[in-house]
């Protein structure tokens, strides 16, 4: 508990306290500052979008890795972790090289919103795959066979037997993926160009506040993001419980 306090609780409290220096004004000013508001909208919106994409794609990739047999499966299984293991600024460099102005593929998304989506999707891909995969592996074949012999078709088995079992892990992966996305800095700062009102993410905005010596605004913005992260994680947990109970 002391460890947890030192590591998590005290720094969090410090942020909230710093933000409190400016009183309610600090929050209101930050929120009404249209540039900050745009950054919040962009970051939260893109993070939700990317998490949504991951829920579908990550689950499908996990399914394929567990259930299908194909050439190169072991390699794919290994490669999945690379975006996660790479330093984010390196990821940013890779993306800039591939989808930047000198793209060998002829795709240039630099300085557009798509670059933010792309960068976030790249770094958050492994989360859901890695949380769902072990649960799918553990799923007993005889449970699905039992459902089939009771008259369930493939779609029904998927919806009523498989999905409820993996929803908790999808939700856990989604929470991780969302948390990573709203805090992302390195991978998107290079490709997005951080144009105010257009492609500037919250993390970039916080940094520029600090560089400008405005710690109170930085802390206020940080506290707001803390609240958003908390809200989304709680919402995912509630959703997960409801789906898992319904059956």
């Amino acid at each position: 508990m002391v460890w947890f306090s030192l590591l998590v609780l005290i720094p969090l409290a410090a942020i909230v306290a710093t933000a409190g220096d400016g009183g309610w004004h600090g929050y209101v000013d930050t929120l009404t500052n249209s540039q900050s508001w745009a950054a919040i909208k962009l970051t939260v919106g893109q993070s939700l979008l990317v998490t949504g994409v991951n829920v579908v794609m990550g689950t499908m990739i996990a399914w394929v890795l567990v259930r299908d047999r194909f050439w190169g499966k072991r390699l794919l299984d290994l490669v999945i972790d690379i975006p996660f293991a790479m330093p984010t600024i390196v990821a940013g460099l890779v993306l800039l090289g591939l989808y930047g102005p000198d793209s060998p593929l002829g795709i240039n998304v630099s300085n557009t919103r798509a670059s933010v989506t792309l960068a976030l999707a790249f770094v958050t891909l492994p989360f859901i795959v890695r949380t769902v995969q072990p649960v799918l592996t553990e799923l007993e074949a005889d449970v699905e066979e039992a459902a089939a012999s009771l008259g369930a078709g493939r779609a029904t088995i998927l919806r009523r037997i498989v999905l409820p079992s993996i929803v908790p892990s999808i939700a856990a992966g989604a929470a991780l993926s969302f948390a990573r996305a709203i805090s992302e800095y390195g991978s998107l700062v290079l490709l997005s160009g951080s144009l105010p009102f257009h492609t500037e993410a919250v993390s970039v905005r916080v940094l520029s506040f600090i560089e400008g010596g405005d710690r109170t605004s930085a802390a206020a913005l940080a506290t707001i993001m803390l609240g958003v992260a908390l809200a989304v994680i709680v919402a995912l947990d509630v959703l997960q419980r409801r789906v898992a109970r319904r059956g």
């Binding site: 007993e140 005889d142 449970v143 066979e145 039992a146 459902a147 089939a148 012999s149 009771l150 008259g151 369930a152 078709g153 029904t156 009523r160 037997i161 409820p164 079992s165 898992a244 109970r245 059956g247």
Partner: protein, 340 residues
């Protein structure tokens, strides 16, 4: 005949699981597929259920060719060794699963009166089944809150809910401890007398098969060794394997027979008796086990009662004469080299 299996072969890679299996399983009876592990009995059961497909041969259930039918269309109930419960559903929901799928597939809107009536009917059926398997008070629990025996009874109710034409059980009591296993098999026998659906169960426990089944199919190394009632198998085994698998076997001269089918005498007054020396005497509960040596150095096991052993004053080193009892199941020992 309820289930007809004709010329079924099944291989897994190089391993021959079933080799030209032909068998008919009678309607309304409780049949045991008995044999050692890896002998192909579970594979045969899974082929009947459609969970496995035979390489060649046909399966028909109640006169309908089911060889290529998917498991969901066969209308068979299947009970797995490890229960295969739906963990996230309550006991009642587990039992209702098959009924729900059959009535509306969950697709009709919940507010229609038709669906309300369906629900009432399902509820009544679930209550009835839970009562049948003595789990009424556990209806709203999750399977993880039940013991192994209770989970298996729930799995049985779930399989029976859809009124299957045949009920298939794959080592249903294999994962339970000895006491619960014994209770459950007695209970299964009574249940079958109450609800006489054609039932086939797989077991490697010959005692279980003999106690519960009307008919036993002995399967070994992918082949059917013998089909018959428990008594006929025990008394007239077709070969050494069946004899050895259904009970203890010993050798007396050129015969293979059961240790309790040997009479012990104090003199050579019976025709065909063999003189032996008692080597060891072991008391196990109400019975006494002897190991005796013949003059040729053959060791013979004999089981007798305590009272008889006391009357004869059996102890180590004593000379006695052994005779096969009348009407004993015997198999000549030299015919086959296969060890049971």
């Amino acid at each position: 005949m309820s289930i007809e299996i004709d010329g079924v072969n099944k291989r897994f890679g190089d391993f021959v699981a079933l080799e030209n299996v032909n068998v008919s399983l009678p309607t309304g009876q409780l049949t045991a597929l008995l044999g050692p592990s890896g002998g192909g009995k579970s594979t045969l059961l899974r082929i009947i259920a459609g969970l496995e497909r035979a390489d060649t041969g046909t399966v028909s259930i109640e006169g309908v060719d089911a060889t290529r039918m998917s498991p969901r269309k066969r209308n068979v109930g299947f009970v797995f060794q490890h229960y295969a419960v739906f963990k996230h559903m309550t006991v009642a929901k587990n039992v209702a699963f098959g009924l729900e799928i059959r009535t509306h597939g969950g697709l009709r809107p919940p507010w229609t009166s038709r669906r309300l009536r369906d629900r009432e009917r399902m509820q009544a059926r679930v209550d009835e089944l839970l009562k049948l398997v003595h789990l009424s008070q556990f209806a709203d629990r999750l399977p993880s809150q039940l013991s192994g025996g209770q989970r298996q009874r729930m799995a049985l109710a779930r399989a029976l809910a859809v009124q299957p034409k045949v009920l298939l059980l794959d080592e249903p009591f294999g994962a339970l401890d000895a006491k619960v296993r014994k209770e459950l098999r007695e209970w299964l026998r009574r249940l079958h007398d109450e609800v006489p659906v054609t039932t086939v169960f797989v077991t490697h426990d010959q005692e279980e098969a003999m106690e519960v089944a009307d008919e036993i199919v002995v399967i070994n190394e992918g082949r059917i060794e013998q089909v018959g009632t428990p008594d006929s198998l025990y008394d007239e085994p077709a070969n050494e394997f069946v004899m050895g698998f259904l009970g203890e076997v010993t050798r007396l001269g050129e015969l293979r027979l059961r240790p309790h089918d040997i009479e012990v005498g104090l003199g050579p007054d019976l025709a065909g008796s063999t003189p032996v020396d008692v080597l060891r005497v072991t008391r196990v509960g109400f019975e006494v086990r002897l190991v005796a040596g013949t003059e040729e150095g053959q060791e013979v096991s004999v089981v007798t009662t305590r009272a008889h052993a006391r009357a004869l004053d059996l102890e180590e080193g004593r000379r006695v004469w052994l005779t096969p009892s009348n009407g004993t199941a015997t198999v000549p020992a030299m015919k086959s080299l296969r060890v049971g």
